[in-house]
């Protein structure tokens, strides 16, 4: 298996793991699965660094390992601990429907990347399509999940998709750029988790369908 095939294969594993994050009933388990998924992302960065001689991605692998495999899941799990890891409410999609939607997203993403003729991405179009599909799966998670902390994980999935696209198309940008994006992402998760915990203390639930006081 050459480097390009490995990266494309890992990108597919990324989709499977993100579906597992969306589908898991228990939010804590979902957060743990997100950590595993982020590890797959780290492997992709590392593979790209080795096989495509994209040296800045060695550093990206390390920063993603620290922030996405360890820090972000830790923030979410800590927030879940504070609210007693409630599994309600769980209107997860049927796994078959989720798979179907994921396939549609990948197809759509392929359509989006087809006209790209940029040298940097020409051989990695399948992986790039998967990264865009991954972003859309994150959005789907936010739209279909009612648990506030699962919605945060949906945002994290979107962010992982964008991060992967960044690695394909802009890995040569200065390191400070990646640091800026990662810092924003971590603070976003931290702030959303804090607000979710405060909402739980006021409402007694993480069900975002209950957030209906402000209308009109």
């Amino acid at each position: 298996m050459n480097g390009i095939n490995l990266v494309n294969a890992l990108a597919v594993v990324l989709i499977v793991t993100s579906l597992m994050v969306v589908e898991a009933r228990n939010p804590r388990f979902s957060a743990q699965l997100y950590s595993i998924q982020s590890f797959v992302l780290v492997l992709i960065f590392f593979s790209l660094a080795v096989f495509m001689k994209a040296e800045p991605l060695y550093i990206w692998s390390v920063t993603a390992l620290v922030t996405k495999v360890i820090l972000v899941p830790l923030i979410v799990i800590r927030a879940l601990k504070r609210v007693g890891n409630p599994s309600e409410p769980g209107t997860s999609l049927n796994p078959v429907v989720s798979l179907f939607i994921a396939a549609v997203f990948v197809g759509l993403a392929f359509l989006i990347v087809t006209p790209f003729h940029m040298q940097a991405v020409i051989k990695l179009k399948p992986a790039l399509a998967v990264s865009i599909a991954h972003f859309m799966l994150g959005l789907l998670c936010i739209l279909t999940q009612r648990n506030a902390l699962k919605q945060i994980l949906g945002y994290c999935l979107m962010e992982n998709g964008a991060h992967l696209t960044l690695a394909f198309m802009a890995f040569n940008a200065q390191e400070t750029v990646e640091i800026g994006i990662l810092t924003d992402a971590i603070f976003a998760v931290l702030i959303m988790s804090l607000i979710a915990v405060r909402l739980f203390s006021v409402l007694g639930t993480l069900d975002t369908d209950q957030l209906t006081s402000l209308k009109g």
Binding site: P115, A173, V177, T183, F187, L214, G216
Partner: protein, 497 residues
Amino acid sequence: MNGNILIWLLTVPLAVSLLAFGARVAAAWSRRILEGLHLAGITLLLVLSLVTVKSVLTTGNLSAIGAWFYADHLAAVFVLVIGVMGFLNGLYSIGYMRSELARGEVTTGTLSTYYGFFHLFLFTMVFTVLSNNIVLMWAGIEATTLGSAFLVGIYGHRFSLEAAWKYVLICSVGVAFALYGTILVYSNSFQLLHHAGRAILWTEIIKGAGMLDPLVMKLAFVFILIGFGTKAGLFPMHAWLPDAHSEAPSPVSSLLSGVLLNCALFAIIRYYMVAGQSLGTGFPRVLFLVFGVLSVAWAAFLIFIQHDLKRLLAYSSIENIGLITVSLGIGGPPGVLAALLHIINHSVAKSLLFCTSGNVLIKYGTRDLHTIKGMFRIAPFSAFLLGSGALAIAGCPPFNIFISELLTVSAGLQRGYLWLMVACLLLLVIVFTAFLRLIGEAIFGSPPGNVARGDVNWQTILPVFLLFVLMLGLGIYIPAPLYQLLKGAVSIVNAGI
């Protein structure tokens, strides 16, 4: 080019923010210390922003830290808005938060959080409009959400937390779309320049914009408009806005509405300039017109049915942002001039209205327009200011909004958009009717018996009066330096398109 002023402009609000937070950690806070720190911070920011504008006008563009930060005439317009509105809303904050403290809505401890986040929010907005590095510009806009989310939810009750949750989730998701657009533009530019350091700078991208891949640029612009359009409050991505703007403390609502929305528009304008050169202005302008008119239409009807004062003002922000987007869609020097002038005018008028709504809330204890009646007899000065603001935002002369709305319509007619302008005018009639009803009922009705007579403290009146002077002044006369600044910004936006 002397860019030191830009570094000061970035450092001061960040330092004041850290000091305000630090005061809490060190348990050294007291209301007076925090207010003194806050007052020094907003005054310095005002002075620095004015000096920046003057430097741009006299010596030309400024840049700092390897051109990562940059100020031209366009950025200077937004720096001016942040500096002036930051100062006036900051001034209003002192009296308003004192009242909130007296009413038991917040504690002294909360004040440190409030002022800390207030200056952090100002810092993130300055950071955004000064960023020449497109990824940092994106990071800046995302940071404005994170910096202001706690301000929205500061009261900690069900409503404000619900608003904060929707705000941070919807905006973060929306802005993630803009990240995709940013990556596409960078990647496209790198193909051309083969230099990572230069390819990420807007000033370098714009130089070679004509040679960027139009197909990639088209996709990137759609992502940018959806992403930053969410933050700007454009329909249909506006869902967070009425909640966040109505639940935040009034001076924060004012900053969110009068300043933050402009920062998102600033980023859209920067990318419009690149897209215009790469794929022509036709595609982006059509998108502007569609999103703009839909925003005005949706907001006009919701303004008409509102009975919550602050939600009414929030929908009016969507309407005005829609109008600015329509002006950008009309394009050409008259359209862009109308858009930029309306950005300034809307900031002034909306800040006045949100701050006055704070006075109303202090007096009546509610935002419900069924209860807010006879304000003229209860608090005559606040009533006068609310009435003036309502007339101004409805587009009446001699106030400033009338001038920029007139410019928009004349630009539209000049460029052949007769039916579009007729539609906009009809929608503006609906808005006018709604604000006229607001004046009739809230100011001239019979007051409820349980409301104490007399205006709120002078600290909440003075800043609003200064806003009134600005609102009236800009309706009668545009000072020469401001006109020169706007003219320069219009030339920049239209250069090469």
